[in-house]
């Protein structure tokens, strides 16, 4: 188990580059932010650090989607559901940390509950004042949903497009549900106005750096874990399922179990990405469940090149950087660009940027 993983990580060019760049970034960015004076050209502003942290969250989410789509052929149009659930679990912890500093100053109830005239905390909010419990929920909530959903879906052999459509329906139903005030998650406005995390002020530069490092660490860890799965014996079965599900089943593999565990693991990764995302952007609302966001993740993976993991990371970074730039410079053009990206990549770049680079190297 150990040898093949280490061997792939050390010999595979993409993994080398990705992990190298990630480690260098994780060391350089905090240094340039804290040690270099603000007027220097090399200084990295805290805003940039947070933006990079956000991109890394997206990259982790992209890896989660690539793991199921690129390696197992399950096109999920509902990964935002897991991402947002992880985010809400973290948001609930951060809400409880506000305490008496809210607008209404209630020691237990978050502001929106006071506003709705609720007199006590709903049962599912209990325990979220403890960090360990919230972190457990970050993993359990998306994991359990994915497990139950997958258990039903894979057992009844819902595959291909049908599966994609019901994952979309899943996140759509959650979107509608979380919009309701009665759900107890802040309705339309979601959860926001966070103050601190584990006692550290969320606005402080050091906390931002800490969150950035945690995200980089999670991304690195997630990447290695996915790589390990892909390189393992199970990983080969999973690829076999992607290429010919029926044959894998006839040979005697329990296709459903492989799919189910891979799917659940991927959902947990997405949940962790969401949990890291929320303290950095400072808000979580039902908009995160929107099916269109889920499809956008898929396009990150497709642009980067699916089935490679580092391609997913590359795609997430490139597309999101383009999005930030476009929405700043030409807001109307962004949707045209994104739409064109979908069409062109699927028509002309089935292997994504990574495939393009590989081809270029071959011809050179």
């Amino acid at each position: 188990m150990h040898t093949p993983l280490l061997k792939t990580l050390l010999t595979e060019r993409g993994s080398q580059v990705f992990l190298g760049v990630l480690i260098v970034t994780a060391i350089l960015v905090p240094l340039l932010n804290l040690a270099v004076p603000a007027d220097s050209a090399l200084h990295v502003s805290t805003y940039t650090v947070t933006l990079l942290g956000k991109y890394l969250c997206y990259a982790l989410l992209a890896i989660a989607v690539d793991l199921v789509w690129g390696y197992c052929g399950i096109l999920s149009l509902g990964h935002t559901a897991f991402f947002a659930l992880g985010g809400y679990a973290m948001g609930m912890y951060l809400m409880r940390q506000i305490g008496t500093r809210g607008v209404y100053g209630d020691p237990v109830l978050p502001d929106f509950m006071v506003f709705l005239n609720w007199s006590e905390l709903p049962w599912y909010w209990h325990g979220f004042d403890m960090f360990w419990f919230a972190m457990l929920m970050v993993v359990l909530a998306p994991g359990a949903l994915a497990y139950v959903f997958g258990w039903f879906a894979f057992r009844s052999r819902v595959t291909g497009v049908y599966l994609s459509i019901i994952t979309q329906a899943l996140t759509f139903a959650l979107l509608l549900a979380f919009f309701r005030n009665e759900m107890g998650f802040g309705g339309n406005n979601g959860l926001t106005d966070f103050k601190d995390l584990l006692g550290f002020d969320l606005q402080a530069d050091a906390t931002r750096i800490g969150l950035f490092l945690a995200t980089a660490f999670a991304l690195g860890g997630g990447y290695v874990a996915c790589r390990a799965i892909a390189a393992s014996r199970a990983g080969r079965v999973i690829r076999a399922i992607r290429d010919a599900e029926g044959r894998a089943r006839f040979i005697g593999y329990r296709v459903e179990s492989y799919k189910l565990w891979l799917w659940t693991f991927s959902a947990v990764l997405a949940g962790i990405a969401g949990a890291l995302y929320v303290p950095q952007v400072g808000i979580i609302n039902p908009g995160e469940f929107a099916p269109i966001n889920a499809i956008e993740i898929v396009i990150w993976v497709a642009v980067g090149g699916r089935g490679t993991l580092y391609g997913a990371v590359l795609g997430a970074l490139v597309v999101n950087y383009a999005k930030t730039w476009f929405t700043g410079a030409f807001p109307e053009v962004w949707l045209y660009a994104l739409g064109a990206l979908f069409v062109l990549v699927t028509l002309f770049l089935p292997q994504g940027i990574v495939g393009l680079l590989a081809r270029a190297r071959k011809t050179a």
């Binding site: 009844s156 291909g160 019901i166 899943l170 919009f179 109307e332 045209y336 979908f342």
Partner: protein, 549 residues
């Protein structure tokens, strides 16, 4: 929007002409009217209105009613409309009518034109609620003898609001000579309601008997008080059973109404999904831009209305074929430009067409602005069909149901009775064999996709009549329509029809119990579970081809 607010100038002209014509006619009769003995009395009463207080005005109205002067109805109607005024200079009372230069005056005694005046030279003769109620009743008394049965019926309804000795005797007299069955029934109900206050228990009992089968609120409320206050046990029991009867019918019609709402929602779903049933169901192509093709259809209706601002009905009727063409052509373009390179790769098709949907949405935002637009509803589709006192259907919902069924039937005809339909089915069942027999499959693919897209455009026109037209119109239906197609069974138009209708009805049945949003969530969850149990939908295709790989 503007077209809806502004009254077309033609109608005002027609109105004026009618008025002039009426004046001419009235002046022809003037000779006879001038000799009528009541004239002086009438004129005196009318003149007093200028200075009378509200209590006095009521007394004058009573006196006018008693005299039954030929012009009284016109006078009362004008009084009710607030078109009665006294001239400040001499205190003379006139009926006023808006004219181009100020106000046209009409003499209330002989209905002759009396020149014009500035509105500042007139003092309006005011009314209050009590007086207006009285005036309505008084006008109804006149209308009770109108030649038109509809007017008589309206008059009876008006009089039922306030029954007193005068109205009851008027109703009773009318019943003696009435020949329209509907008006007779209305009269009987009115008299029975009056009889419920009779001191004689037998009369009350008979009245309750007469009221059987009536469902209106007036009858219901009256029976309710009767059931509470009635001293006679027999009458009380009869009232109680009458109430139960009404409750039963109300529940029944409530159920029918829910069913109808469900069917109309289902029709929208069917319309949205049926184009998809062709592209996805027959061709196996996932077209995520389907919703945007509907949006294009809806915008075609909007453009049609901009082109024909005066002819709402014509614009909507023309929009149907226009939207079919526009969306159909866009559909053919999509097939030739994108989809044909991706046959056999459904997930890639999904992504590419999704990208296309983003482009189309943004294009519409650039061309028409991101704001929602509204498309006017033609007159024949607005308002509602009052079937009885507790049950009415809105015309636009009813037409949507009919329209959905029509589109469905046409599509069935095209697929089953035309040469195009034959080829479409042949290619979808066995592409190789169809090609071997000389079917140009690439052409058929384009036509099929265009057909599905065109139907989506037609659905968009229907949607433009229900909601506002905006760039996000299509997006909100895409999940629903995929659900309907998958629920009904892919490749099966009947499945789509039945699936869509039943989902609509289930949604509306759940709504009162769980709220609208929760109902939608429950339906989605139900569908997710349903697809687990029956991945091939309600009506799966049988045989090997359906199994796939």
């Amino acid at each position: 929007m503007t077209a809806r607010l502004h009254r077309p100038p033609g109608r005002t002209v027609a109105h004026l002409m009618l008025w002039c014509w009426a004046l001419l006619l009235a002046s022809g009769l003037q000779v006879a009217a001038a000799q009528a003995p009541g004239d002086t009395h009438h004129a005196e009463q009318v003149a007093q209105l200028a200075t009378a207080g509200f209590g006095e005005k009521e007394r004058i109205v009573d006196a006018l009613l008693e005299a039954r002067h030929p012009q009284t109805r016109m006078l009362l109607a004008a009084f009710l409309d607030g078109r009665l005024a006294s001239r400040k200079s001499d205190g003379k009372v006139f009926i006023t009518e808006d004219a181009d230069d100020g106000v046209a005056l009409v003499d209330p005694v002989d209905a002759s034109a009396a020149g014009t005046a500035k509105s500042s030279a007139l003092r309006k003769i005011g009314t209050n609620n009590r007086l207006r109620k009285k005036l309505k009743g008084a006008i109804a008394l006149f209308d009770l003898d109108d030649a038109d049965a509809g007017v008589r019926l309206a008059a009876v309804d008006e009089m039922l609001r306030e029954l007193d000795a005068t109205t009851v005797s008027a109703l009773r007299t009318r019943l003696g000579v009435e020949d329209s069955a509907r008006v007779r029934r209305a009269l009987e109900v009115g008299l029975a309601l009056a009889d419920l206050s009779s001191p004689d228990a037998e009369v009350r009992l008979a009245a309750v008997g007469t009221l059987e089968g009536e469902l209106g609120t007036a009858v219901y409320n009256r029976l309710k008080t009767l059931e509470r206050d009635e001293p006679d046990a027999r009458v009380r029991d009869a009232a109680l059973s009458g109430l139960r009867h009404i409750d039963q019918w109300r529940r029944f019609y409530g159920g029918v109404e829910t069913l109808f709402f469900g069917l109309s929602l289902g029709s929208v779903l069917v319309l949205a999904a049926i184009g998809l049933a062709i592209t996805f169901g027959v061709m196996g192509v996932i077209n995520m831009a389907h919703g945007e093709l509907m949006m294009i259809g809806a915008y075609t209706a909007y453009v049609m209305q901009l082109l024909l601002p005066q002819h709402t009905t014509l614009a909507v009727l023309l929009a149907v074929p226009a939207a079919f063409l526009v969306s159909g052509l866009v559909g053919v373009g999509i097939e030739r430009g994108i989809v044909r390179f991706l046959y056999g790769r459904p997930l890639e098709t999904l992504l590419a067409t999704f990208g296309l949907s983003l482009i189309l949405q943004q294009a519409v935002r650039s061309i028409f602005s991101p704001l929602n637009r509204s498309v006017a509803t033609p007159e024949f589709m607005s308002g509602s069909w009052q079937i009885n006192e507790v049950f009415s259907l809105t015309w636009n919902r009813l037409y949507i149901v009919i329209f959905a069924l029509l589109v469905f039937a046409l599509l069935q005809l095209v697929l089953n009775k035309t040469s195009l339909g034959l080829k479409v089915r042949a290619v979808s069942q066995n592409r190789e064999m169809a090609r071997a027999l000389g079917v140009r499959s690439a052409r058929v693919d384009a036509m099929t996709f265009g057909l599905g897209a065109g139907v989506a455009g037609v659905a968009g026109v229907a949607l433009s009549q229900l909601t506002n037209v905006g760039p996000n119109l299509g997006q909100s239906y895409i999940v629903d329509s995929f659900m309907v197609v998958v629920f009904g069974g892919v490749g099966n138009l009947w499945g789509t029809l039945i699936g869509g209708m039943s989902l609509g009805v289930v949604n509306k049945l759940l709504e009162p119990w769980s709220g609208a949003v929760m109902a939608k969530i429950l339906v989605l969850v139900f569908l997710i579970l349903f697809i687990q149990r029956r991945p091939r939908g309600l009506f799966p295709h049988k045989g090997r081809a359906a199994e796939g790989h």
